[in-house]
């Protein structure tokens, strides 16, 4: 029943997204629920101020090897989503590289705390998720959304998250969904601990950058929205070297006036 409801919801969202894609102006930010999004953003900023920022500051005080080990273990876990998406995107080279990394780092690297795979020539590559795969398949981003606690996303990325939570994420399957025929050692709490730890690790790595952005921004909501959407575009294009920001088109309009 749960799956049927999710599928129907996903179909509705896709339909909504396609309609929005057709009617929106090219290059314009599609912030269909801006008022609600701004309210949720204000709520998230409040939560950040009283919960996430202080925790992240505390986390930053931990010795560097502990933070590096935590970051490595979380990165290792993220391969469970990245590998199927590498395959769905037809990037079999990255799928093989990430599978080797997962195998080596989970065993020799003690649950991913260390990264011996790098020394064996399996370098860290970009993370992938179902939202990115939908983007690669040509699905438009749809409207921009801000979710409580989880933060910025788009309709497409929300569908990607729903796919992950409905069988697409092996880590979610063996913890929350209790697929015990393969692994019995993990509990639901392990999943939520890993999600919170990922959030804290990310926040701690960006403490100064976010403070600077907050100080120098005249509309912080719009700044975060712009950065999120640019980042997703960059990740979908897998453009680590050259990005859309390198196009002259936008600047040429200035030249021609």
């Amino acid at each position: 029943m749960n799956r049927i409801i999710t599928t129907l919801l996903a179909l509705l969202l896709i339909q909504f997204m396609v309609v929005k894609k057709v009617y929106s102006e090219e290059g314009e930010v599609k912030d269909c629920f801006e008022k609600l999004n701004r309210a949720t953003f204000a709520l998230n900023m409040g939560l950040d101020k009283i919960i996430f920022k202080p925790i992240s500051k505390g986390y930053r005080k931990l010795p560097s090897p502990i933070r590096t080990g935590t970051g490595n273990a979380l990165n290792n876990l993220s391969n469970l989503i990245t590998i199927p998406n590498n395959i769905l995107q037809g990037d079999f080279g990255s799928a093989a590289n990430n599978s080797a990394r997962l195998l080596i780092n989970t065993t020799l690297g003690i649950a991913g705390i260390f990264d011996p795979a790098n020394s064996f020539g399996f370098e860290k590559r970009e993370k992938e998720d179902f939202g990115q795969t939908l983007g690669v398949m040509g699905v438009g981003e749809g409207c921009y959304l801000v979710l409580p606690v989880l933060g910025p996303t788009t309709v497409r990325d929300t569908i990607g998250s729903l796919v992950a939570m409905n069988g697409g994420d092996v880590w979610h399957n063996i913890t929350v969904r209790d697929d015990e025929e393969y692994v019995r050692e993990f509990k639901e709490s392990d999943y939520w601990v890993s999600r919170v730890a990922s959030g804290v690790d990310f926040r701690a790595k960006n403490l100064e950058a976010f403070d600077a952005m907050e100080k120098s921004s005249v509309d912080l909501y719009a700044t975060v929205r712009s950065l999120y959407l640019q980042d997703r575009k960059k990740k979908i294009n897998n453009s680590s070297d050259k990005t859309e920001a390198m196009d002259d088109g936008d600047w040429d309009t200035l030249e021609n006036q």
């Binding site: 801006e34 120098s216 005249v218 719009a222 640019q230 680590s240 936008d250 200035l254």
Partner: protein, 197 residues
């Protein structure tokens, strides 16, 4: 026939030398600029003195007027001459304050220039990285250098890990304008409020 061949070869050599001199000047420009900023940031000056020096660097090395006009996007055409002048002045003050306050916290900033790409006679992209420390990961920074006047290259954009600061600024200003029926006075009010704080 041989004369024609010599002319073609000479033109090619000349073109190579000119494009090489552009590329060299853009990279050297970023190297010397980042070294200057790094010296200021790691020096023993007070924070206020550092901000003054950083503003001087920003003023001489960034095409502030160009970036300001770019950030207005489609609203650029709606401004009259007096509004343009007012915006120009406000944007310069806003940019310099924002730029210097963002940078002043980085006391150990070291930039390594990696390579560059000459896009055309107007733009060269210089690829670099901010060297990582135990507190901060390595950060990729690409500089859009405006080389229309090769003797006086100017920065038009900084692309940090693929995210364009100019585009972000443009979307920020455009959001304010879009939510206020394109009324430029509201943007002026916001910029003035920022400058007063």
């Amino acid at each position: 026939m041989r004369i024609l061949k010599n002319i073609v070869v000479s033109i090619l050599i000349l073109f190579f030398l000119i494009s090489n001199s552009w590329s060299k000047s853009a990279s050297e420009f970023i190297i010397s600029l980042s070294a200057e900023a790094s010296n200021i940031l790691s020096g023993k000056l007070s924070e206020d003195e550092k901000i003054v020096r950083l503003k001087e660097i920003g003023k001489k090395s960034v095409d502030i007027d160009g970036v300001g006009l770019y950030t207005l996007g489609k609203y650029r055409k709606t401004l009259n001459d007096s509004q343009k002048e007012q915006y120009k002045e406000l944007f310069e003050n806003y940019f310099l304050k924002s730029f210097s306050s963002r940078l002043v916290g980085y006391t150990d900033a070291k930039i390594a220039v990696l390579s560059e790409e000459i896009k055309n006679e107007k733009y060269t992209i210089v690829f670099s990285k901010l060297i990582g420390t135990s507190e901060r990961p390595e950060v990729k920074i690409d500089w859009r250098v405006y080389t229309k006047d090769p003797e006086n290259p100017l920065i038009r954009d900084l692309v940090i890990e693929g995210l364009s600061l100019a585009r972000t600024q443009k979307e920020e200003f455009n959001s304010i304008l879009a939510n206020n029926d394109g009324n430029i006075e509201v943007l002026f009010k916001n910029l003035n409020k920022f400058l007063e704080n």
